[in-house]
Symmetry: C2
Amino acid sequence: MDSKEISPVVIARLPRYYRYLGELKENGIERISSKELSGRMKVTASQIRQDFNNFGGFGQQGYGYNVDYLYEEIGKILGLTKKYRMIVIGAGNLGQALAGHSAFERRGFLLTAIFDIDPKLEGKKIHGIPVTGMGELPGFIKKQGADIAVITTPSEAAREIASELYQYGVRGFWNFAHTDLHLPEDAVVENVHLTESLMRLSYALKTLE
Amino acid sequence: MDSKEISPVVIARLPRYYRYLGELKENGIERISSKELSGRMKVTASQIRQDFNNFGGFGQQGYGYNVDYLYEEIGKILGLTKKYRMIVIGAGNLGQALAGHSAFERRGFLLTAIFDIDPKLEGKKIHGIPVTGMGELPGFIKKQGADIAVITTPSEAAREIASELYQYGVRGFWNFAHTDLHLPEDAVVENVHLTESLMRLSYALKTLE
DNA sequence: TAGATTGTTAATCGATTAACAATC
DNA sequence: TAGATTGTTAATCGATTAACAATC
């Protein structure tokens, strides 16, 4: 599994497979062939089989794939059997929205704290968790630890705080700030650059004309 | 420009170039070589030159690229000289956060309305714009039009409303719902699947161990 | 057994990197 | 002019698709 480095493009596709399999499960469908899944997802059956075979055979010749089993296995590959302690940095519009998003909680991403520099926000409860002042960040992490930091501050603050958090041992960064975080190799950064996403939409709309 | 279909991977990189060039501009830097930009952005100089050359030569041998000029040109390619009328569907946590995000406004994405089924939210003002009941959606679009719909509703509603909006002439969809939208070829959908992003982070964290 | 469908190898396609002549 | 750096062609690398033997 961990032996032959899996390509990032394959990994990027796994959550979508996982979503479709979840829906099949909900609809009580027990088995599916790469061909039928291909039709639903609008990708080639060949790619589906290649992707799954990166992790060893999940299917059976002449039968296809067992939906429940495949769903579970992909969940394991993605690390969804684990629990993650997640802190939100920045309690602005976006920070509050993400903190209040119960879908993450369900998947094992547990919100443990929300931090903000603005003293006016201090104590305000989001999803039952009070906003804490930035000053208490080091103490909190040293005591409780955190697996993932959700960064929703302005760019400059984002870079600084991320470095600080790294020093305290945080390795996972879900970055919504409009900047790249410069962190050592063993930090993991997943960027969600909304403005860039909107620009891609803009380009595509332009080509439509 | 529009003649030889540009690869989507190149387009996906443009907003990041645009961001770096914007920062260089702010720092008063007038020219930059592909080599130096390569060092800052952690991509190869070769790729930078190939990317830019998809749109014709923006540089000058022996000199490099003029930052202001390149910034403007990429902005044009991305369609950022246009104004877009944007409506938000779903005034939950995320819908409100996106509606209130002034960075989009600055780039020419103008929020013109927010819709929600929940009558309790009706009239609530976000960023100065009142939440409107879903019943008024058809009338609004027919009268005012809209270029981009930001979809933040649950999955089932998202698919239905998107189809409806398409019929009314909306072609751009910024989709935050955890589902794929099934729309005709000439609709443009940019997905932001936050749960999937988080799953990729989870995978990467797992491989760290 | 016959039919279906995987797992896997081979062929194709596309994207990235390297190299260098053109030229500012 | 000499040095620098692009634009562009060629080489490499990786990802996708096609094909088919293995096998349930």
